[in-house]
Subunit: 156 residues, 2 copies
């Protein structure tokens, strides 16, 4: 969508405002990056959100309840329920009801998932490097700083 907005604006002449141009630049660039990431993951049979759930679980290092995963993804619970279902079908995770609180289901990685994640680490890091290839480190630090300021200014 970002690209569409931008291209349309190109047609209509200059941007309506610098702020608009900045916003669209972010959206457009992000779109491109997301596509690349999705493409890479697809080659390994994962969707971005499946990958993210696995990665969060690896980061945590121990079984996690669904809602906690959802929080880290800034997603709504229903989305997680489905992704968890798929990962279960793929036999990449375990899901067991907690004995303390039977409303809670704890999710953990199976060895196959850990192997898959390890296999992905290098390609992903490589992809990040490719996406930013040719951008000087100073520019990258500036970019990170400005984006941080932007995010800080957007209330939740």
């Amino acid at each position: 969508m970002s690209r569409a907005l931008q291209q349309e604006l190109k047609k209509r002449g200059p941007f309506d405002s610098l702020e608009q141009e900045s916003t669209l630049a972010v959206l457009r660039t992000s779109d491109l990056m997301e596509n690349r990431l999705a493409r890479l993951l697809r080659e390994h049979g994962l969707t971005p959100s499946q990958y993210n759930v696995l990665r969060i679980l690896r980061g945590e290092g121990k079984p996690m309840p669904c809602l906690e995963i959802a929080e880290r993804m800034i997603q709504v619970a229903p989305a997680i329920t489905r992704v968890v279902d798929q990962l279960l079908k793929m036999d990449l995770i375990l899901k067991e009801q907690s004995s303390d609180d039977r409303r809670v289901f704890k999710i953990q990685l199976k060895p196959a998932a850990k192997r898959l994640l390890s296999k992905l680490d290098q390609p992903i890091l490589q992809l990040h490097a490719t996406l930013l290839k040719g951008i000087p480190k100073t520019d990258q630090r500036t970019l990170i700083r400005i984006l941080e300021q932007i995010r800080a200014g957007i209330p939740d």
Copy 2:
């Protein structure tokens, strides 16, 4: 998803690389912005992609074939077909078969759509301003420049 990645990395310590940090910063910021935009449009009964189709049509100023719209959105044809169907149901556009080439269906805005777009112009511009509030113009220009360089380096 971007936010998830980032937060997970936070947990696991420093970023694996500056490039990764840059990438995630872009993805995360874009997510926030997209959410805001979607929220605003929803208040007016539009989804982001519906809005984009309308905006592209307004930019063009005359009837356009579906595929041309799709190209501007960098989307695949199937997505457009469905969005067009919805806009038809909402009575915001006209769709007629071209007499030159009967494979082609040309889409054009109805007056109601033009009114809706006009009504949205100010709020959207305002939103862009809010998203970038507090970011100096020099920083914005720098941001735009760096993001352009990044996009230029990502092959299609």
